[in-house]
């Protein structure tokens, strides 16, 4: 720009302090100001005088062509266009301004009139003018002649804005405005005219009308920033050769790059576009309707990141690629559920766990990495994943030589993802029945307001139901929701499984441990893989550990036992092949089903005594316990067998002996476990009743439920700890069979007399039986209603239809279901008052109750559900 020519105008010896202050202003200001000063020189400057325009005379003004001419002469500019540009810049910076036209700050090469701005009002002096001053200026103008000084629209707007913002200062501002108006009245008319115009022009530059920009804004960079920037540039200049070398290198590598043919690349682009055409909301009308156009929030509801029934389009999209599936939280949930059902979900769990590790907090990095390694990678790990030698070695090397980092497992995860998940699991999922049912049941939103409303109310109904089924309102739920007796149990349990992936509020009630996490999650509900892995991992660690220790079927976390008890039952019966799971879940049927179905246990026991149980016996200290322990093993084994063979056992008086004994044995094994399974677990809170003498235990009988509650809570918070798990499991199993059942069980344990035990058991039997039901049923109700299993459309009406997917497991779950049915019938005879009494302790122990309520609220208010 021309300004460079003016360097000789720089002040010769600037005072350092002065320089300090003015340095922040661009140098061009100084150049312009010097030029303006020259312009105003009375002798050699631009001729300024009173100009006559029609009948009025305009004081202290100059014509456009004068200033252009002066500039061309002074700076020896040949081209008038350049001079006009320069004049325009000066004008835009507010050094002079058009007298007549307030809108346009530009200079024309004609007789139009301009006036110099007084240096006091040079906008470059005050680039950051206080808005109080602006407010005074505006307020002043409102006090004066409306025709002359009336405010423009944008000024009026900003005045109102300022009045609002500066309300506390407004008295001061209006006072100042009054004062200034008063003073200006005393001035001469010509002076007044000029200063008014100058002031107005000043603000016109600093606070331009919308659409035009303020050119005197300065960046908030400090002095050292300027230096730093210059420094960088200098360094770069000196390294020219290095720069060039770098460029040469860059070009060389670019040259040797392998390139695919453009046609190929373009084809894949085109096919991608075509594949996703259907999913581009700009190309295809939105379903059900674009929320912006219809003002209908339905779109947000049915497309929430986690939803029970995804839309058809969404399900279809999952089939395009694995990424489309796993990037969608709902899709991830579905495939995990599917793989879990197929017993090959260790891969996806590993992959998720690695992802979790990558994003998890640094503080937990080490423990998480270790846990991950133990579970999935170490030789003979419970869930050993199948990766090739090389990847394994790479991971192990990293583990050995480095502290575990976020990316330690990345190669392995990558391998699992590309080789196993993508090539094997994903195609199977897409071909599976489950996917097909998902697709068949998917929502097909219709673009009709009425139907939508219906659907909404439908949804709302579902929501209501789910909220009524949350633990706090158990009694109601127990009465209201009839257990879907003939609904495939497998379905329900699968739903329960999914619940973990979902980490919904209701689930968080059960998982007191992860309630915090889930709460946080609820905020946006967008990142489903935050804290929810922990319980899931834990659970499998436990179950697998069980397989390892072969007899220690008790070390399961309390919430698991609650959840898993019924859940694993079908799996047990379903596949004999997956022995790990069967062993792991032995104790589960034994508590739920055993209470009813454990039939001829004593007689069968000696025959079926499985060798793996022996270690437990050996380790247990006291003889009676050993006895009972082994018998439990048998018992539970037996029970599982009965369920596998799907014999429906009706509870006869003779058989009634067994349930209490089962609970006893569990207790005893708990003791064993305590001695045994301490392997690598963190310090344990003392199990409430483990080593206490029999008398004490008897004393403890009444407070039992509460202690067990606390125990489970602890387990929840510290996640691992098999022993607590086992301890509380025992309590929870007994809790399962509910408080009354527990007390006889306890006594049985303390007394060596087996007969006596059985007698007591006899006495308490009915209670035990009856009390089991509400719990079980409630649990199932809850899982069903909350987690609306992906496949079941029948959730909304809670109609007891067997969902299609249950077909695989239906044969197995039937006996269970029948049992359940019997339970129900018995249950129905019970007065509901007792039910609620039974459930109360569970309520109390679960500290998440208020949280859960708020959770549900925020969730729905945010519009994600």
């Amino acid at each position: 720009m021309r300004m460079e020519l003016l360097t000789h105008n720089k002040p010769s010896s600037p005072d350092p302090l002065h320089q300090e202050v003015t340095f922040k202003r661009p140098l061009s200001y100084m150049k312009m100001e010097n030029l303006i000063k020259e312009m105003q020189d009375p002798e050699h400057g631009v001729p300024v005088r009173s100009q006559k325009l029609f009948l009025t005379s305009i004081p202290a003004a100059f014509a456009g062509y004068d200033v252009i001419e002066w500039l061309m002469e002074r700076l020896t500019i040949e081209d008038s266009v350049e001079a006009i540009h320069l004049a325009n810049l000066l004008c835009q910076h507010g050094y002079f301004f058009p007298v007549t036209d307030n809108r346009q700050f530009s200079v024309k090469d004609d007789g139009s009139l301009y006036r110099f701005q007084t240096p006091y009002y040079w906008p470059s002096q005050y680039p950051l003018m206080d808005s109080v001053d602006y407010a005074i200026f505006l307020a002043k103008r409102t006090l004066r002649n409306k025709q002359k000084h009336g405010l423009d629209d944008y000024e009026l707007e900003s005045l109102n804005q300022l009045r609002k913002n500066l309300s506390q200062k407004w008295d001061f501002i209006s006072m100042q405005a009054d004062e200034q108006v008063r003073i200006s009245k005393e001035r001469k008319k010509v002076d007044k005219l000029v200063t008014d115009a100058q002031e107005r022009a000043f603000w016109r530059v600093l606070r331009p009308p919308p659409g035009s920009s303020c050119c005197v804004e300065t960046p908030p960079m400090h002095k050292h920033d300027f230096h730093a920037k210059e420094g960088v540039k200098q360094i770069r200049r000196t390294n020219l050769i290095e720069d060039l070398r770098a460029e040469v290198d860059l070009l060389r590598t670019s040259c040797i790059r392998t390139r695919i043919k453009v046609s190929q690349a373009l084809e894949s682009l085109a096919s991608h576009c075509e594949a996703y055409d259907e999913h581009d909301p700009f190309l295809v009308p939105r379903q059900p309707s674009n929320p912006w156009i219809s003002d209908d929030p339905c779109y947000w509801i049915i497309n929430a990141p986690l939803i029970e029934i995804p839309t058809e389009r969404r399900v279809k999209k999952w089939a395009i690629s694995m990424e489309d599936l796993v990037l969608d939280p709902t899709g991830l949930r579905e495939i995990t559920a599917y793989l879990k059902k197929e017993y090959c979900h260790e891969n996806i769990r590993f992959w998720l766990a690695v992802r979790d590790l990558r994003y998890g907090p640094v503080s937990q990095l080490r423990s998480k990495a270790q846990q991950l390694y133990n579970e999935f990678l170490s030789p003979g790990a419970p869930c050993e994943i199948n990766i090739d030698m090389r990847t394994m070695e790479a991971v192990q090397k990293e583990l050995n030589y480095l502290t575990p980092a976020r990316f330690t497992f990345d190669p392995a995860a990558e391998h699992v993802y590309t080789m196993l998940l993508k090539k094997d699991c994903y195609p199977r999922f897409i071909r599976s029945e489950q996917y097909k049912t998902l697709l068949a049941n998917a929502l097909q939103p219709i673009n009709q307001k009425k139907r939508l409303d219906k659907f909404l109310s439908y949804l709302a109904l579902g929501k209501k139901k789910s909220s009524t089924a949350t633990p706090p309102i158990y009694p109601v739920g127990g009465v209201l929701s009839i257990p879907p007796a003939n609904m495939g149990l497998g379905e329900m349990f699968k739903a329960a499984d999914e619940a973990i992936m979902m980490a919904t509020g209701n689930k968080s009630d059960l998982l007191s441990a992860s309630s915090l996490d889930t709460d946080k999650l609820s905020v946006m509900a967008d990142c489903p893989y935050r804290g929810d892995l922990a319980p899931d991992d834990k659970r499998d660690i436990d179950s697998t550990r069980n397989t390892l220790s072969q007899g220690s079927f008790d070390d399961v976390c309390p919430w698991e036992s609650m959840e898993k008890l019924p859940e694993k039952a079908p799996s047990l019966s379903q596949s004999v092949a997956s022995s790990s799971i069967t062993t792991a879940s032995i104790n589960k049927p034994c508590t739920s089903a055993a209470a009813l179905a454990a039939a001829a246990v004593p007689t069968l026991a000696p025959t079926v005594l499985p060798p793996p149980l022996k270690p437990v016996e050996l380790e247990s200290s006291s003889l009676p316990q050993v006895f009972s322990g082994s018998s439990t093993g048998l018992l539970s084994k037996q029970v599982s067998i009965t369920s596998t063979t799907s014999t429906v056992v009706s509870p006869t008086p003779a058989q009634k002996q067994s349930p209490p004994s089962s609970s006893t044995t569990i207790n005893s094994t708990v003791d064993n476990q305590k001695n045994k399974v301490v392997v690598g677990s963190p310090p344990l809170p003392p199990p409430p009743f483990s080593s206490s003498p029999p008398q004490q235990q008897q004393q403890q009988l009444q407070p039992q439920p509460s202690t067990s509650g606390s125990c489970s809570m602890e387990a929840g918070s510290t996640v691992t700890i098999p022993i607590i798990g086992s301890a509380s499991n025992s309590t929870s199993t007994s809790k399962e069979s509910v408080v009354q059942a527990l007390s006889p069980a306890k006594t049985t344990k303390t007394s060596d007399n087996f007969m006596k035990t059985s007698e007591q058991a006899m006495t308490c039997q009915p209670q035990a039986l009856s009390s089991i039901q509400p719990q079980n049923l409630n649990m199932q109700d809850e899982t069903v209603v909350d987690n609306v299993p992906s496949c079941s459309t029948s959730i909304y009406n809670t109609a007891p239809l067997p969902p299609p997917q249950a077909s695989a497991s239906s044969s197995i779950s039937m006996p269970q279901a029948q049992n359940q049915g019997k339970m129900t019938s018995e249950d129905n005879n019970k007065p509901s008052g007792e039910e609620s009494k039974d459930i109360c302790p569970w309520d109390h122990e679960n500290g998440t109750r208020p949280e859960s309520i708020t959770f549900v609220k925020t969730y729905s208010t945010l519009g994600y559900l």
Partner: protein
């Protein structure tokens, strides 16, 4: 003129020239077809009828940047009035207003989860706000102030809630760990200000593309020390880059009044989009203004580019046809953002407004 050039420098310059020739030849060798040929058989896409469905008013100065959250509904905007505003674009309400320490904001980013927003500008700093953690006056708290830049911050994106990647006027790319506020790494490569970046959709943790004032765009992998790939072609600042949803390509918008599509695997430009309006008759020189921002529709079929001429231009990416403009803004469109699920487009302008376009 000037000091005499070092023979080493001249040698290197010659080498660069010859390398450029070979590079060009290699690219041409791979270019066995053109977009028109490949896509001639494709169906026409419906003409978009996007309308401004929400006009988000509230800023009292130029709005410089908008970015959608992962829920496709919340939006952050940053303006020279020194405020970040979090909008619910559907209701049109302001969810939060965050006053900034420095009003010179140039870029904003919303984390995918919606928990954090980041902003930065001429304060040479990236500032991260936690939207869920508010102080007594209800303003989101600053969780991190990431300093250490020698130039303005021109672009930033959340890799995850824990990581932020930034590009700045000092030509570098920084990766920050937000959990401890430490810099994980710095990457150099551009010879000019980095002004724009876009994360790769299918590998957003590691790979992204940047556009720079040095007229090139570069592909980066955070696991590598240097840029993985460089794309030349533009003849002026690359103001904006945007990854194609297929992750196989990206498009760029430039000051040179063109937008281009670059393919990663064939390592070259595959298409160029110009604004035929403005009396230019399709020629670049006469079209109205440089492009400031770009975005692609969910399928990648449509390209949107915000322009100096206060319009948003649209093209069918495959056919290369200019399909129209979205008019409404009254000044330069500074930034556009396509919602994650592709349902809406937000644009902001120097006219102090934000518009949400849907169809």
């Amino acid at each position: 003129m000037g000091p005499k050039e070092d023979p080493a420098v001249t040698g290197l310059k010659k080498e660069i020239e010859s390398l450029k020739q070979t590079l060009k030849a290699a690219q041409e060798a791979a270019a066995d077809s053109t977009l028109e040929n490949v896509c001639s058989g494709l169906n026409e896409v419906p003409r978009l009828r996007l309308q401004t469905k929400r006009m988000l008013k509230g800023h009292i100065h130029k709005v410089n940047s908008v970015h959608f959250a992962g829920d496709s509904r919340h939006l952050v905007s940053g303006s020279l009035d020194g405020k970040l505003i979090i909008w619910d674009t559907w209701t049109g309400n302001k969810v939060q207003i965050i006053p900034l320490r420095s009003s010179w904001v140039m870029t904003t980013a919303f984390s995918q989860s919606g928990n954090f927003v980041a902003s930065g500008g001429m304060d040479n700093m990236a500032t991260v706000y936690d939207l869920n953690n508010r102080d007594s006056s209800g303003v989101a708290k600053i969780t991190r102030e990431l300093a250490g830049y020698d130039g303005f911050l021109s672009c930033c994106r959340f890799v995850s809630d824990q990581k932020l990647v930034t590009g700045s006027g000092d030509m570098k790319i920084c990766l920050w760990d937000l959990s401890n506020g430490k810099r994980i790494g710095e990457w150099f490569g551009h010879a000019g200000d980095v002004v724009s970046m876009s994360l790769k959709p299918d590998d957003s943790e590691n790979v992204f593309v940047t556009g720079s004032v040095d007229q090139s765009a570069k592909l980066w992998d955070l696991r590598e020390k240097a840029a993985v790939q460089t794309f030349w072609g533009h003849s002026a600042d690359v103001n904006s880059v945007c990854f194609h949803p297929s992750s196989l390509a990206f498009c760029s918008a430039s000051e040179d009044k063109t937008a281009r599509l670059f393919d990663l695997r064939s390592d070259q430009q595959v298409s160029q989009y110009v604004n035929p309006g403005g009396g230019g008759g399709g020629s670049v020189e006469n079209s109205t203004g440089g492009f400031t921002s770009s975005g692609l529709s969910k399928s990648g079929r449509y390209l949107f580019a915000g322009c100096d001429d206060s319009n948003i231009h649209m093209w069918d990416t495959l056919k290369g046809i200019h399909t129209g403009t979205l008019g409404g803004h009254e000044n330069r469109v500074t930034s556009i953002s396509v919602a994650d699920n592709g349902i809406a487009l937000a644009s902001c302008s120097w006219d102090q407004n934000i518009r949400v376009w849907v169809c």
